[in-house]
Each structure stands twice: as C-alpha cells, then as structure tokens.
Symmetry: C2
C-alpha cells in the first residue's frame, strides 16, 4: 500500500534509478508530507536523513544574522537537497532554511544508507554528483548576481527565473515577497517593477505579475 505509493513516486520522478536501487529506496525510505509554509529544514538543524522531493515545491533560503532571508533556489520533484546529502554524510548541521511553498511530499532516506548507495548503485552515485554540480552552479549564479549586478538587473533575473522554474507566465507574488527574497525593500521593488511595466516587460496586478516577453 504505502510501498506502492513510494514505488509510483520513484517511477515518475526518479525513473532513471536502476531497479535494485529503487527496491532499496522503497524498503528503507519513508514519505513525509509538509503543508504550505512548513519548514523542511532549519538553519542549525541536525540532519538524520536526506530528502528526495517527490511532490510539491520547496524554496531554499540562506538566513542572515538578523533573521532576514535570502532566496537561493527551488527544489522540485525529482530534486534532492544537496545540503542534506552533504550534512547527512558528515552528520553536521544544516546551513540553510528550506520551506515548502505548496503542499510537499519528501521521500526521506536515512543517512546510514548513503555510503552503501554511493558504492553499490551507479545511478545513485551519478545522481548525487549531478545534484552537487547543479547546486554548486546555482550558488555561483547567485554570487554573480549579488556581486556584480544592480538591483534592477537582479530583479529582472529573479523574475525570469521564477517564470522559467515555475513554468508559468503569471506569477502569484506580492512586491513585498520579492523584496524579501532579494533582501531589499518593498518600495524599491515596486518602483523598479513599475519601470519594467513602462518598458512593456511585465503587467502588474494586485497579487500577481504577468510576463510579457
């Protein structure tokens, strides 16, 4: 019953795993559901398992000393949290905060399995390396943006990324939300958005933004 559910999640999002690996994951993994806005991972938390996302959407944030947040990237079904892998392997605490933005289901793999999986299953091994690589690059892109770009460029990049990642042309978000993700302030974002609207790049509405390019 529960086994079949896990089976179908793996088949739809991790179909590239070899059959034996799937079997191990089905036997040892457990499903965990998160409601919207629930945290999957908190800064300073100790990891006992690594998480494969099988349903929903997760936002990863870095937290500043004074409690403000900085959005780094999304985790979607088929993704794993690189940080949870690294921390799990090393049994150290998490350095980021992960929050579900919609109801989310994670397949939790106990850390004790990590070493065996890496050694025994080629597809797992490549999946993990691929995950590291993608997140590493994602972080480098984040650094590019905040190190070299001004706020209007960062906003444009942010919006494009949202539209692309979420595969939509209409983004449900308030100006305040964006300001929070970019560690800026609502007024600044509002003003910059208005300029983008004047250039015909977006259409602004209450609680959502349309992409026009």
């Amino acid at each position: 019953m529960k086994t079949e559910t896990i089976q179908s999640y793996i088949d739809s999002h991790f179909s590239f795993f070899e059959p034996d690996l799937k079997k191990v994951l089905i036997e040892n993994g457990t499903l965990k559901t998160f409601v919207a806005d629930e945290m999957l991972m908190q800064t300073g938390q100790n990891m006992r398992s690594t998480t494969l996302i099988v349903e929903g959407l997760v936002k990863l944030y870095r937290e500043g000393d004074d409690g403000n947040e900085f959005f780094m990237y999304y985790l979607q079904p088929g993704n794993a949290c690189a940080l949870s892998m690294i921390c799990a392997t090393k049994q150290e605490t998490s350095e980021v905060m992960a929050k579900a933005v919609e109801p989310t289901i994670g397949l939790m793999i106990p850390i004790s399995l990590m070493d065996t999986l890496m050694k025994e299953y080629k597809t797992w091994y490549y999946f993990v390396l691929e995950t590291y690589r993608n997140r590493f690059e994602e972080l480098l892109t984040v650094i590019d943006n905040i190190a070299f770009k001004s706020m209007d460029e960062r906003l444009a990049f942010y919006l494009e990324k949202q539209f692309k990642d979420l595969k939509t042309r209409s983004l449900s978000v308030t100006h305040g939300d964006i300001a929070n993700d970019l560690n800026s302030s609502r007024e600044v974002i509002s003003r910059l958005l208005k300029k983008m609207e004047q250039r015909g790049e977006v259409a602004l509405h209450r609680n959502y933004i349309q992409y026009l390019k």
Copy 2:
C-alpha cells in the same frame, strides 16, 4: 625520480590516503608547475583532469561579465579544486578562474580515473565529499557576506580570513588588490582601512597591512 617526488608530496599533504590509492595516484598523476600569477583554470575552459594542490597557493575567483573579478577562496596544499572535480566528472567547462599567487605545483589526475577512484578507495571518496562540503560552505559564507553585510564588515571579514588562511600577521597586499578582490574601488577601501586603523585594529603601510588584534 619523478615518482619519488610525487610520493613525497602525497605523503606530506595527503597522508590519509590509503596505500593502494597512493600507488594509483603516483602511477597516473603528473606534476605541473605554475609560476606566480599564472592561471590554473580559466572561465570557460574544459577540464581534462582534476588538480590536487601539493605546493604553493591558489586564489579562486568568479568573473563578472565585464571582466572584473570577485575573490571566493584559497586553495592550499592538501586541497583539491571542487570545481575541477565536478566539471571533470561531467566533462563540462569551468565556471571559475583559478590563479596561482605564488609558485605552485599541482598533481594532475586524469578525469578518466575519477569513477574508479570513487568506487575503489574509501579515503578518496571521503576526501571528495569533504571537499564538496567545505567549498559549498565557503560559497554560502561568501553569499552571507555580499547579501547581508556592508562594505566595512566585508572588509573586516576579508582581512581576518586572509590573516587566518595565510597564517601571518602581516599581509602583503595593496589597497587596490583588496578593492579588486571585493569588487569595490580603491578609494573606498582606503577610507575604510583608515577607520580600522583609527580604531587600532590594523596598522597600514605601503604594500602591507599588519593585524593588531
């Protein structure tokens, strides 16, 4: 002869590698020397080997579109370049620039070996994961600084990191160099340094800075 040189480098900086692994590295690795200011890796370059640093000092930069540089972290003897590992595995191009700051020797390991090493040698496997983890955290710290901190805090952090990493209380660097690493401008750095000097934290000299805390 050359074999013995590699042997001694490995023994002094990678003594934790298991004997069989050392043998493989000695048989398949080649030493490559870099003069000061030479690049080990350029943005966009394709990687055919992963590099273990056995001598010298390397600075890793992210490059902006307009050619300016942003310092991320040092590689020292005993370190490997996480990026070269990831890119090597995936056979993709490098995303960063690595420059020797003093004469440097790297032990080059052909990418073709990577998979075998990971599977066969536990100490290599842990070394690679440890490398990923450390660099990941280093990048997160970089993001913290540029996302949440003001220039004076970033400068203070930068200096402390230099003094700590280079294990010295007297740093050979010009104000312009620092400005370049932090992607700021010389005048700004000079002014902030002066304030630090007035607070008794550093002593400023031509071409070097002393740490007083």
